[in-house]
Symmetry: C2
Amino acid sequence: MNTNAFRKLSYGVYVISTWDKGKATGCTANSVMQITSQPATIAVSVNHDNYTNGCIRDTGKFAVSVLGEHSAPSLIGGFGFRSGRECDKFEGVEHEVKSYLPVLKDACAYIVCEVIDQMETDTHTVFLGKVLDCDVLKDDDAMTYAYYHNVIKGKSPKAAPTYLPEEQ
Amino acid sequence: MNTNAFRKLSYGVYVISTWDKGKATGCTANSVMQITSQPATIAVSVNHDNYTNGCIRDTGKFAVSVLGEHSAPSLIGGFGFRSGRECDKFEGVEHEVKSYLPVLKDACAYIVCEVIDQMETDTHTVFLGKVLDCDVLKDDDAMTYAYYHNVIKGKSPKAAPTYLPEEQ
């Protein structure tokens, strides 16, 4: 089994967000895909260790902010390399509330969902969300994981907070 | 709800394959993502209308062939715009059996899985597969849906069989 094969799967770069008792929280993720179009549903995979996982269970809702190639790279590290248990990840991050969920203003699109099903694995929960609201925010190409890896990571100094947690 | 937001989600281009009573069959798909690494699991979304869906249920196994930028574009249409109910999609397509599943020789990587869970939606099944075997076949960049849409579709004559079914 040569696990380099997994590197051939294509992903985007996203911030999954929800509420933590009235405070916005979220985490960086790659694993988001649309499942159905009528009604529109989206699946996202969130590690059990991510504080966001429990918050999505509590609220039954989540938002996906789709990062674009021109979104600030600091968002990736800010939502990725620290825990919402210990800090306010949204502090200093421009965001707005769309259909009662916090989304990033610097994203190229957002999708707000209500959890309608979930599938458990040893380390991750796959949440199936029915789309309540979505919109395009900017005319920017979506950031792919390959773009992040080849362009942004290459351009960032090592100390920059652009660590992307390996969600898979 | 502006569903153009869904176009900002990033995908690859894949052929999902399995056996139909001893005959290889499969379909084109975009919706594949790794869920866990230990043990390695992969989620794929397959429309109920795809003949492959029932065949995966029958066999309990599927393979993902990851198309690369240099894979033959005809594979996308060949596995996408016709049904395995009516034809042998693997006829004339170079393939080999890896861990008892048929995979495309022209893919850049393959992943063979055993179904360990599934989640139903109105139109699609999300199969969760435990990875039994995987390998890189070619040093080629994975084909993203955006690459397919912007480069291959643009290069192909209209009559070419490069129709990609909208899996999401």
